[in-house]
Symmetry: D2
Subunit: 139 residues, 4 copies
């Protein structure tokens, strides 16, 4: 896989323009970007979590979708975009009330479709809370 065409700051600017974070302190961010890999983090911040509270399925879905979007955009020239084509997601364990860490790997970057594998972890835990395979269509 060739080197990324955009920096983490350029990528996160696109993400936050599309989905303005309600609170900058808990905004999703990119911790590391390699040629075919990315590590992102969703801070818990000071969000008061009610007892039993945890990250919901739709939230985990949004994070996995964002990870694959960032990986795909990293390999498209600035200005180009991509739309979600499919998501397959396995819910493995209940997340802990800590930061969520996402490890993404770009398996294929094609003209028609990118394919990314995403693992979501509760920060510090060895076993993933969810796994997703996400395809994006460059437009």
């Amino acid at each position: 896989m060739p080197a990324p065409l955009r920096t983490p700051d350029e990528l996160i600017a696109v993400l936050h323009a599309a989905f303005p974070p309600p609170d900058p302190d808990v905004a999703i961010r990119i911790d590391d970007l390699g040629d075919a890999t990315i590590r992102m983090r969703v801070p818990v911040g000071d969000r008061p979590l009610r007892p039993g509270d945890t990250l919901s399925g739709p939230t985990l879905f949004s994070v996995a979708d964002a990870v694959a979007w960032m990986l795909t955009l990293a390999h498209l020239e600035p200005g180009r975009d991509a739309v979600t084509s499919s998501v397959t997601m396995q819910f493995l364990r209940r997340p802990l009330p800590v930061d969520l860490v996402a490890e993404g790997r770009l398996l294929r970057m094609g003209r028609r479709l990118s394919v990314s594998d995403v693992l979501l972890y509760s920060d510090g835990a060895g076993d993933p809370v969810a796994q997703a395979t996400v395809t994006y269509a460059p437009i």
Copy 2:
């Protein structure tokens, strides 16, 4: 498939208790419940949609997830619950700015896992905007 063990009103009460609708006028509702089928509707209401606005991927995911949850709970005694095990979703077309209609079909209701097929439509359109296969684990 045997007849449902709960009424649409009982099911929707569980859904709204877990996800309180911000506006009752646009709350998701059950239009029809059969032995293995369900039709649900997400009203657009008076939500002012900006130009180009459309239902987001995470919103479509939430709706498909809710449809499969309702189909599964319909076949579990009142008081029992189920958690999402996996979701596979195909994004087919951009939704129109009208009500979203969901057609769900329960393909299997097992002790360990239910399997549902869900099609999402823009109300009045013949082609679906998304298809999902959702599995739920009764607990």
Copy 3:
């Protein structure tokens, strides 16, 4: 969805050229072809089935894959082809030792990707043995 560009006989000739059936009596065939739907049949024939014998997972996969291929080729000009991009398959019940009947529906026929929903039944049974969502990339 527009009308098919090929007849069932033309389609099945492509399938049998790629996968020559070992025995013409048990060759997979097309029973019905509509604008966005197809019904195919895998005859059991005189195959001696050992006790407990049933159609294997890879066989069910091959059938679902063939159904989506036929649906996709039906909407591509003769001479064009398509390759499998992804398959998601739910195994629901053990097949009975009778003909396998497949009901396919084309959910989207795009330039880059077709998306098909496939249900597999033991002939005469009301509940499906497997469900698959298959995407094909036209080439």
Copy 4:
């Protein structure tokens, strides 16, 4: 993940009893088994490959299915079995006419369901030919 309850030889004996390899020289084998990981190999052997010949989709499916079965059985007491519940497979690149190498990782081993992530490579190549997420139900 705890240590495996069976050795590679015990596991491969179960696999070959269920699917007798037509030629022992090209039988699938286990190269490495860790607590949550497995590496398997499908030798090409002396199989005469016609020009353009490659491993078919159903063959790749069978290999991914076998990898997840072995990973699951490794964590069930000898004598117990498991059946495929679902498979999601992305076809990424055409395989080369060399040995196929599979890297499997067990993401969750539950009472109801195991979840495995499988990557398939042409031996020596850096990019995978296919990715699969496979769930198995212990019985």
